[in-house]
């Protein structure tokens, strides 16, 4: 579908901005008052367990800074840059509706429920609110999610290095730069701001060096007999993360994060300024007439854009660190909902870059998005070129602007991968504890190696015969797993709301929608994998499908039980919703209202 007139990008950005504002102003207010019944008088865990370390009552603006920089990264860029394949209309619609009606409910809900339960994590809450099986389900989903995150971002970085050899020197140079900053801050105990700003300046100066000395590994790949140069990068990246995930966070991860936090705002500023100054118009069709045989946007759009519309991992941050620092329960609306809106804004920027920045005409754009394989393999490259165009509008030479945009995406993806491998090591260790294998739980080398080898194998697995196909599939598996995590968090939230006699529809609608899209996509993929003899992807898809069905069953049982319990709760105090305020004034930990459904867990994991 074509509107017949190119829509100015800044008009779209302004409309999305207004919708996000209305969503925050009205819908988050409804959620805060009627659904989560946020009570400013409730004594939050930050006050209750105040230890000055993890549990600290924190100013809501300070906490928003922590929350947003923890959730914003490369994923809201990559998904939308692929999803515009179906046209910018569906992609933007899902980002706007998903942010307002799904991500906001989910992020704010995870924060609110965690705060009412001693700031416990969503995994622990799944065990408490639903049952012990749900907690194991959560662990399994997280394991898959981290595996896919690490594999996907290795492929993203590998593709970007191959496409932008000028970005190699700045990105590799960022590692000693970050270490130098980390050591400097640690030794001198001075301000992080100045060194990290100097770090950003040096990083961008290295772009000039990278532009003069682009580095390609084509020769090495040929000498090694590796068909795709990207795969050489993937192996090198995992070798690097094996080391990086074992060193203390303050040496590399934190200082690189300081640099990235500046880059996040620089990139958002460049996109915003670029679309205003350049008056770029969107050259992609509103709804793309995709070639026959392409994945349909129902259901694949809704799993391709995960972060940016709704991301299950946000519930981990909400209930992991943010809930321990919430000063007033009512601050959850600002911190949780606005965090989702911030992520949606980044995704909107990605859509604009991949439609308005990347092409001068609709024919140019169609050449970049001719089929799904090309679209998925070239998506991040298209985002990079789009942002480069926006940067070019503000007088940065195009070749340098392209490397700048690549550096932004690669830095984000590399930090995500670094943390992802580190977290995967923790999960492997935890699984080792569960199955009582000391080599897994205690031996750091074994745990790290497993955390690296599994995603490495996934990133290298062949798929479909086309260079980008594996990546397109991996991204969809990542999306389904991430949406399953969101589904689990939403089911915990929905059960919690139902038990309190309030209307759970705000959580149920995105929950049902996500589970329907996820299982539908998994089934379609499974059929295709079996048909195409994809015997690595097919079992993986089947496992995720089983997890999805398991989640649906657990969620349905828990909801039914919660619904049955509801009248007795209302009878107990005669008010239903008013029960919450009674609880809030007394401020107990609500041990009776959230006993696991089906009685105490007998699995021995609590």
């Amino acid at each position: 579908m074509d509107l017949g007139v190119a829509v100015p990008a800044f008009v779209v950005a302004a409309v999305v901005g207004v919708l996000f504002f209305l969503g925050y102003r009205y819908y988050s207010s409804y959620l805060a008052r009627k659904v989560y019944a946020l009570d400013p008088a409730f004594v939050t865990p930050a006050h209750q367990f105040n230890d000055g370390n993890d549990f600290v009552p924190t100013n809501k603006h300070v906490l928003f800074g922590h929350h947003f920089t923890s959730v914003a990264g490369a994923a809201p860029i990559v998904g939308p840059a692929i999803a515009v394949f179906w046209g910018w209309g569906p992609a933007l619609t899902w980002i706007v509706l998903g942010t307002i009606f799904a991500a906001g409910v989910h992020d704010l809900g995870a924060l609110a429920v965690s705060v009412r339960h001693k700031a416990k994590s969503i995994g622990t809450l799944a065990g408490e609110v639903i049952n012990g099986r749900a907690r194991k389900l959560f662990l399994a989903i997280i394991f898959f999610l981290l595996t896919l995150v690490n594999a996907v971002f290795a492929v993203v970085i590998g593709n970007l290095f191959v496409a932008n050899p000028g970005a190699v020197i700045p990105i590799v140079g960022e590692i000693p730069l970050a270490i130098a900053i980390g050591v400097y801050i640690y030794r001198t105990r001075s301000s992080a701001l100045l060194p990290s700003i100097v770090g950003v300046v040096v990083l961008y100066a290295l772009i000039l060096v990278g532009n003069a000395f682009p580095i390609s590994l084509d020769g090495l790949a040929e000498a090694l007999g590796v068909e795709q140069t990207r795969n050489v990068w993937v192996v090198l990246l995992f070798a690097y993360t094996w080391i990086a995930s074992r060193i203390p966070v303050w040496v590399l991860l934190q200082p690189r994060d300081y640099i990235n936090s500046h880059q996040l705002f620089i990139a958002l500023g460049v996109i915003a300024l670029g679309v205003i100054v350049g008056m770029n118009t969107i050259q992609a069709p509103v709804v793309n007439d995709v070639p026959e045989g392409s994945p349909s946007f129902f259901p694949f759009l809704f799993i391709t854009i995960a972060c940016g519309a709704i991301s299950g991992f946000h519930s981990l941050v909400s209930s992991g660190t943010t809930s321990k620092q919430l000063d007033k329960e009512s601050d959850a609306r600002y911190v949780g909902y606005m965090g989702a809106v911030g992520e949606g804004s980044l995704a909107t920027g990605a859509v604009l870059a991949a439609t308005a920045g990347v092409a001068a005409s609709q024919a140019d754009w169609q050449a970049l998005y001719p089929d799904f394989a090309t679209a998925s393999s070239g998506a991040t490259g298209n985002f990079v070129r789009g942002v480069a165009e926006f940067a070019n509008n503000i007088a940065i030479p195009l070749d340098l602007a392209t490397i700048f945009a690549a550096v932004v995406v690669i830095s984000f993806a590399a930090t995500t991968m670094d943390t992802g491998v580190r977290l995967q090591r923790y999960v492997v260790q935890e699984i080792g504890e569960l199955v009582k294998v000391r080599a897994l739980s205690r031996n750091l080398t074994v745990a790290t190696t497993i955390a690296v080898v599994i995603p490495l194998a996934m990133a290298l697995l062949p798929g479909g015969g086309e260079a980008g196909y594996t990546f397109g599939v991996l991204w969809q598996l990542f999306g389904t797993t991430n949406q399953l995590t969101a589904g689990l968090a939403l089911s915990v939230i929905a059960v919690w709301i139902t038990r309190r006699g309030r209307n759970p529809i705000a959580a149920l609608v995105p929950l049902v929608f996500l589970l329907a899209m996820t299982t539908w996509a998994l089934l379609v993929n499974l059929r295709n994998f079996v048909r195409d003899d994809q015997w690595v992807l097919a079992p993986l898809d089947a496992v995720i499908f089983v997890l999805a069905v398991w989640l649906i069953v657990e969620a349905a049982l828990a909801l039914r039980a919660a619904h049955r319990e509801r009248p007795s709760l209302v009878d107990a105090d005669g008010t239903g919703a008013g029960r919450e305020s009674v609880v809030a004034r007394a401020n107990p930990d609500e041990p009776t209202s959230d006993r696991p459904i089906g009685g105490p867990d007998r699995d021995g994991d609590r």
Binding site: V71, A75, S191, L193, S261, S319, T416, G420
Partner: protein, 147 residues
């Protein structure tokens, strides 16, 4: 304007995040190996002592040094309110942004290393007391006074 004491965390204590789909999530924080909180945190000890000592209407904020988007304007605003301008303000802000710094109503009492909890409380009480007694924010020149 209510009074505020700001504590900047040390380099180890700042959240090590990596953006969407990673982050310092610690999802299995009940006995799981994700519970990797540092055992000793000087900021925590000073925070607890301050929170117990200073009046309830004084906000005590613990801020990550990477959260410059909040910290920088806060230091500039509080410093200007104390009457600092130009080079003095710049020195004060720079000192306040350092890890393990202690700032009371814009006065940088420690920079780069926190004093013992008792000393920190004494310094803050003197600072807040001076402001309360003199009624004038322009006390010392905004230089780090402890540590």
């Amino acid at each position: 304007m209510s009074r505020r004491v700001v504590l900047v965390r040390g380099p180890r204590a700042a959240a090590g995040s990596g953006g969407c789909c990673s982050g310092d999530v610690r999802p299995f924080d009940e006995g799981g190996s994700h519970a990797h909180a540092p055992s000793e945190d000087t900021v925590a000890a000073v925070y607890r002592a301050l929170r117990a000592a200073v009046p309830a209407d004084v906000a005590v904020e613990v801020v990550s040094p990477s959260n410059w988007l909040w910290l920088l304007p806060a230091l500039v605003t509080d410093g200007r309110r104390r009457g600092l301008r130009g080079a003095a303000l710049r020195r004060s802000v720079r000192a306040g942004m350092a890890v393990e710094s202690l700032i009371a109503d814009g006065a940088v009492l420690a920079s780069g290393r926190l004093p013992a909890p008792a000393a920190a409380v004494a310094a803050v009480e003197v600072e807040l007391g001076v402001r309360g007694a003199a009624g004038s924010p322009a006390g010392r020149a905004g230089e780090p006074q402890v540590g």
